[in-house]
Structures are given as C-alpha cells and as structure tokens.
Amino acid sequence: MSWRRYVRRAAWDAERAAEIDAHLAHHVDDLVARGLPPDEARRVALRTFGRVDAVREEIYEMNSLPILETLWRDLRFAVRLMRKAPGFTTATVLTLAVGIGANTAIFSVVDALLLRPLPYPQPDRLAVVSTTFRSPRGEDTRTSQDGRTWELVRDHATVLEAAAYSDWVTGVNAVAHDRATYVQQQRVGAGFFRVLGVAPLVGREFRPEEDMPDGPPVAVLSYAFWAHVFDADPSVVGRSLLLRGEAYTVVGVMPKGFLSTAPADVWTPLRASTRGEGGGTNYGIAVRLKPGVTWAQANAEMAAIGHTRAAEYRNASNVTITFGLEPMQEGLSSDVRTPLLLLWGAVGLVLLIVCANVAGLMLARAGRRTREVATRMALGSGRAAVVRQLLVESAVLALAGAAVGVGLGYAALRGLLWLAADYGIWQPIAIDARVLAVTLGVALATSVLFGLAPALTASRLDVTAALTQTTTRGATGRAAHWPRRLLVAGEVAIGVLLVVSSALLVRTFVNLRSLNPGIDPRGVVTATFSMQDRRYATSAAMNQFFDASLERIRRLPGVEAAGVVLGLPYTRLLNLGFKYVGQADDGQYKITNLCYVTPGYFAALKQPIVRGRAITAADRAGTLPVAVVSEEFVRMYFKDRDPLGSRIALEGGEREIVGVAGNTEQRFSGVGQFAPLKPTAVIYIPARQTSDQFLALVHTWFEPSFAVRSATPAAETVADLRRAVRETDPLLPIAAVNDLNELQNAALAPQRFLMTLITTLGAIAAFLAIVGIHGLVAGAVVERTRELGIRLALGATVAQAVRAVALPGVGLAFAGVAVGSGLAVWTGRVLRAFLWGVSATDPQTVVTVGAGLLLVAAAASIAPALRVLRLDPAQTLRHE
C-alpha cells in the first residue's frame, strides 16, 4: 500500500472487483458442490455477500484523500467568491502583481549577478587576488594588481593556478577579408582560460612564451566573432587577422556562449611585466585552487607571498600591505553588489507594503463576511476549516497576482536592462525557471503574510453575537480594528523611508546634472576611434592623420571649429604623475589627469582659456614643451601662486605652463575623487609633443575623439564627419558617435539607474500607503453609518462626526510618518555612498517628505470622511 493508490484509484477498484468476483465464484463452487443448481447458487452467493456496488464504493471512498478534496472544494469556493467581487479581486490582484512583478525583475538581476554560480566549472574554487593596504588613515582592499605582484604570485604560488588578465576591454579595429570591424579586445595571460576551466573549441590558448614582452602576435577569437567574420571555418587556426593594423595569427576559438570576465570578441596575450602599464595596478589575477587545496591553505600561501611585497612597501612608506583571495564572483560583482542589494531591500519593502495593503482589504472584507463565517461555524465548521478556507482564498489571490506579476516583471526587466546598459553587465539576465520558482515561493509566502491575520481574526469570531446582531454593520468590535490600523501605520512608515531615499537620490542626480559643464555642448558632435594601430605607432604618423582629417573636416559645410582630444568631457581620463620643478620640487609625484589635444579643440568645445594662451599649431615637436592646465589644477597645486611660466615635470620631460583653461566635468578617476562627476584637475599637452612610447602606452587604454562644432544638424555633421575620416583612412572605423549630452548621461548612468528604480518603488509605496489610509477611513464610515446616524440624531454636529471618522486616519499617518522619518535617518548611512551634494540624513529632505506625505494622508482621510455629510440620520436609523 502506498500513496500511489490515491492516484490509481481506478486500477484499485478493478482489482477489488476481481477479488469480489473470485469470492462469489468460490461461494458458488461450494454451493454447487453441495448440490444446488448453478443459478440458485449464484443467487444465494449474491444475497449472502450483500451489495457489491456498495462495498466497492466504500473501499473507493477509503482511498480518497480528504485533504485534497476539501482543498479542491475550498479552491472552487475561492474562485467563485473572486468572481462575485470583481472590484475587490482586481484591486488585490493588481496590487499583488505590482509587488511580485517588481520583486521578480530585481531578483532575476540579483540572481544572475550575485547568487548564481559563475558559468565555469567548479566556480567555488575560483578567486581573484586582493591586496589590502592599511595606513593610519584607513584601509582599502583592491583587486587590481601591478606587475610586481603578478610576478610574485606567478613565481611563488604552489597550491594555486594563476593567470593575469586585464579587465580594461578596448575597442580596436580588426580587419579580416578586407573588411574593417570594430571589436572589443581583452588581453589575458597564458593559462587564463585554463584557470577559468574552459578549453578552446578550436585550437589552443596562449603559451607562456607568447605571453612574454615582444612575444609573437597571436589571438584567440570568440565564437560569435569567428562565426561572423570567418564563417565558423574550423581551419581558422594559423590564419591571419589585422588588429590595429598589426597581423595576428589566430591560435584558437572559444566555445559558443563562453563569457570572459568582460564582454570581448577577441583575446590577445597580456604580456604582463613590471614595466609600462605593469608599473601601475592595471592587472587582475585570476586563480583556481588546485585539487584538494583548502581555502585556508590558499589564503595562507597568498599571505606568505605578500610578506615580500609588504617588506618593500614598509621601506617606502607608512603603509602595510597584505595579500589575500576574494571569491571570484564577489570580485567581479563588487561594483554592482551594493546598489543591487539596496534595490533588493527596497522591492522587499514594497512587497511588505503590498502585503499590508492586501491584508487591510482582506480584513475589511472579513468584517463584511462575519455573518457568512459565523453561519459556517454554527453549522459545525471548525476554526481550522475556516482558517484554511480563508488561507486558500489568499493563496488563490496571490497566485493570480503572481501570474500577472510575472508579466509585469518581464516588462520591468526589459526597462531595467535598458537603464543598466551602461553598467557593464557581464552575465545574461532573464526570467527563467529558477526565478519563476522563487516568484511562486514569494507569492505563497505573501499569501500567508496577508492572509493569516484576517483568517485568525475571523476564526476568533463570537458566533452567537455575530448571528444575533440585526445588522451586518458594527458587528466587529473595536479590537478588530487594531490589526488594520497597525498595518496602515506600518505602510506609511515604509513609504516615508522609501520616498526619503528617492528624494535624496533625486537631489543627488539634480546636483550632478546641474554642475557647470564648463563648455558649450550645443552643436558639438564627437567621434571616437582607436589609435591602437601599428600604422599609427609613431607620434608623427598619428599627427599626420590628425592634421589630414581635421583639414578635411574643417572644410565641411557649417563646421565652425574642430579638434582631437584624448579624453572627452564626462569621461574618465588618463591618470599620470607630475612633480614641481625647481624650488618647489619635493621629489613627490602627484597623480593628476592628462589629455593630449590638437589645436582647435578648445574652440570646438568653447572651453574658455581664462589666462595665457591655448595650444596652437606652433606647439610642435622640437619647440618648447608646453602645457595648459585646468583651473581646478591651479587651485589644487598652485593655490595663490601664478602658474603661468612655471615648469612641471611629467614622465618624458619638463613642460612650461602657458595657459589656464576653464574646468570641465570628468568622471570618477580613482584619484581622491569620489563624486561621479566633478571639476577635475587636468593637464592638456599638445598632441604633437608626445613620444612614441607614451602613445603606445596610453592608446592601450584610451581612445582619442574628434570634437566638431557645426551649424548644420547633428545627423548631417556625423555623415560628413564619417566621410571625411573614411577619405583620410578607409581602414579606420569610427567606434562611437556621441553628442556631449549623451556622454553626460552615460557618466551618470549608475546614479540614474538607482534613482529611477528607487523613485519608482517610492512612488508605488507612497501610493499604496495612501490607498491604505483611504480604505481604512472609507471602511470606517460604512461600518459606523448607524452609530454616526444616532450621533447626528442626538445633536452631534457634522464637523464632530467627520472628525470622529477621519481622526484615526490622520493619527495613524502621523505615527507612520514619525516612525518612517526615524527609520530614514537611521538607515541613511546605507545610502551615503550613492549621494553627492546632499547629506544622507538631510533634515530638509526628511521634513519635506514627512510633511508632504502627512498632508496627502490627511486629505486621503478627510475625503472619505466627508461622506458623513450625505448621511440622513432619519433614513439611516430606519434602514434595516
């Protein structure tokens, strides 16, 4: 006997029938043996047995599962009720759908980026090397490493397989089959793919000798690039591919769907060393624990390797340094972790409000259903049965909400991914079976959350009192109001918390948007291109191209000014050290930002030269090396001294400051700057006064752009610009065309992302809280009609009656706002990292939001209370 009999009832019945037939046959055999004729024997046997059908039915019934059958009955009843109250059902299902949909969308992102294992074999054995710097001023952990650290790990790690890689994916020009395309190139060290645990589909990955400085130029392709450019030809290994004008030999192709640590089309050897970019922290180090090695062993080995480095650092400064490992997933998701967790918390809060709201609706309805429930209990239904029935109703509502919610979530996710386009998401995100399963769980959990309180209230009903009441109104006692009131106050509190958070993020965004751009963005288009091209390996070749193309561009109709810059406004700039020359020299390199520009650039952007002169065509190789600096640079490094004529030393020589330009807004560059955008200290040098080595280094990471100011519409300017560049060099593709507003938007994308989402959630929360208050007061008016009628008949003024009904709503709103403001101040520090120009506990914001919500809540309380005005005492008393 097993549970299977419940599913196989028909088969069981057939077997029982056979058994009964056998019984009768045996009896007939016996009777025939005693001499009865067969017909008579059968009659006797059947009479002795009793009713065959009744016996079979009894056994059939025994095989039914009472819980399932009552559940089915409850379900049908719930659906019938939902159909009978379409207004209530629609309101509840939609409210739930909003809450569940928002949770589904955010969870799908959280799941893909933070929870789901990385798409590599044994992802729990993967890590990135981290270094922690401790100084008296604080502590900082980074996962970007320099060449020295990489060599230490490479030479001394025994329990780990390690490979260096660069997360800095650059767009480069690729030419194959005489077709120029712009592709994303990532540079990775030998063994990188082995560490990740993914073997190439075709060919092999880089060998150590290819990963040395001056090693042979080889490349590994992504599946998509291979299919697109080489038509998935398996004989691609050994073929040649021009990357930035240099011939690379293809050695392998990665499998379909392979994702690196950054989106890339082609991989080339990193060639990590301690020189060039290896002098700074520009590498990531991926490691895989060897089989059988524990994390403790691995960390211990890293710590031991770090001792060497620590000794070197201690000699130089006051900083102690330790090496460690960070699980790879955390290392990769460190940028998005906090915002995502914030959002997750916020949607969780919205879901709580949704539950509270629906619970309020259910409680109100439970009040109206008192008689029905009392009748059922009087007829012998147990409390458990009543609770179960009400919970099934909640579950049905929640599931309907979840069904609509998944649809909403799908739409929300598309919007979310559109917003997050600039976030550099490296994992595919979708609503899949896993997310759906979680949604289902959330729906069922919410049904208990919002269904339990009403169900328990209903089951505590005093049956006699409920049935002997002549009216359905006023049947619920005073105590029955409290659960609902608490829910509403809680909703308001959470609403205040979310709205305060949104307000702070909006103020941050407005602050950042309204920064003085320092330039005139109207009428300017920019076109970015890669100079990682062997043909432009020398400063002379590059400047020749700049001159030739700019000459063509300047002749285009409508063009007022044009120039080239390495590092547009609103983008991140190249960090470079400089030191004072002469008396002021303290031997210290100060990290600042550097751009090269051609003549005409400042004019194209209308970036003012506030002192001295701009860079001109006269500043060329061989003439006095000059620099123009930004006002912020002067403020930071020259204070009250006059910078003009001063000399500064940069890598590659001394320069004289000949001009001061107005400030521009640049993106966070990692050097003592924590605002997403701010006026930045910049040194501008002439493009003509750059060395070949300097260009080779900076073009690995940064791409120059044309900036063109034109009177013609942007679309025409772009077409003309593209043609002019093509005419100058047909093999140089334009990577991206932007106007400056787009660049500003891109720079503020993380802020916009968080602001938009939290503001949406805040609006939903506030709306639901207000709906909750409105519903509470409106319900009270209906319930207390009779009582209010008596009061009015006995001489109470209308104002007194309105006050009696509306006051609880206002009071609850006040309590909710008080608690919510406290919560907002208390949790403000969570937001601090995302705010700029406004304090996380900004009293003005908190007070404004609190007062605003209080006003709206008061209006939401008084509006329904005014229905008292329409009460006719005489009619009310005669009613029923």
Binding site: M1, H26, I59
Partner: protein, 121 residues
C-alpha cells in the same frame, strides 16, 4: 507528501462495536495461515456460531483497512478450486495487535462480568 489520511467515520450501516470485533476475527483467522476472502468469511461465520450475522461483503472494507494499517498483507495466488484469489497473511504488526486486542478484550469481558454479577446477600 501525504501522510496517513485521516480516517473518515465508518459507514453508518456498521455498528462500531462490530468493527473492532470483525477486525479481531479477521486477524485471528489469519493466525492459522494465509487465506483468501471467501475462506476468511466462511471461517468467521463458522467460528462465531453464526451469531455475527454480517453480510460477507462488509469483510472487504475491513480487509482493506487492515492492509492500510499494515496489519495484514496480500498477494494473488491460486485457490484450492484452482481459481485466482487474493490471499491475505498476518504481518508481525498484525500479530502484535492481535495479542494486545485479545488481552484488552479479556479485560473488558472480565470487567463487564464483574459489573453484571448478581448482588450477593
């Protein structure tokens, strides 16, 4: 996913006293060895001196319930008449239950006997 289903009240055609009795009679019959439904019915009728005039059909729900409680187990076999029949046998749990029930019954009978004993002067 499902535990033991909660038993619904037995059909009202069968007095409760008889239910326990019938169960016990079945178990006792099977103590002698495996038997199919018809044999069990005959044996019960014989052993109770035809006092318990139950319809033979009511035996089957009882058998089903006992099997459900794992006091007896069943298998298909061939009868002495060369017919296919479903045989039942006592499980160890059934044996234990029979012992307990017999003791309880004996106690009950003794108790009732004491109550009904005529008052001695």
């Amino acid at each position: 996913m499902c535990g033991m289903p909660r038993r619904r009240a037995r059909s009202t055609t069968q007095p409760d006293l008889l239910q326990g009795t019938l169960d016990m009679l079945v178990l006792q019959t099977l103590q002698l060895g495996p038997a199919h439904g018809y044999t069990i019915a005959q044996s019960i009728a014989r052993r109770s001196d035809e006092v318990l005039q139950v319809e033979q059909g009511s035996l089957y729900p009882a058998l089903h319930r006992l099997e459900d409680e794992r006091l007896i187990a069943s298998f298909w076999g061939t009868s002495e008449n060369n017919r296919r029949a479903r045989y039942y046998r006592l499980t160890p749990a059934g044996k234990r239950r029979l012992g307990e029930e017999t003791t309880r019954w004996a106690q009950l009978v003794r108790a009732i006997g004491q109550v009904l004993r005529p008052v001695e002067d």
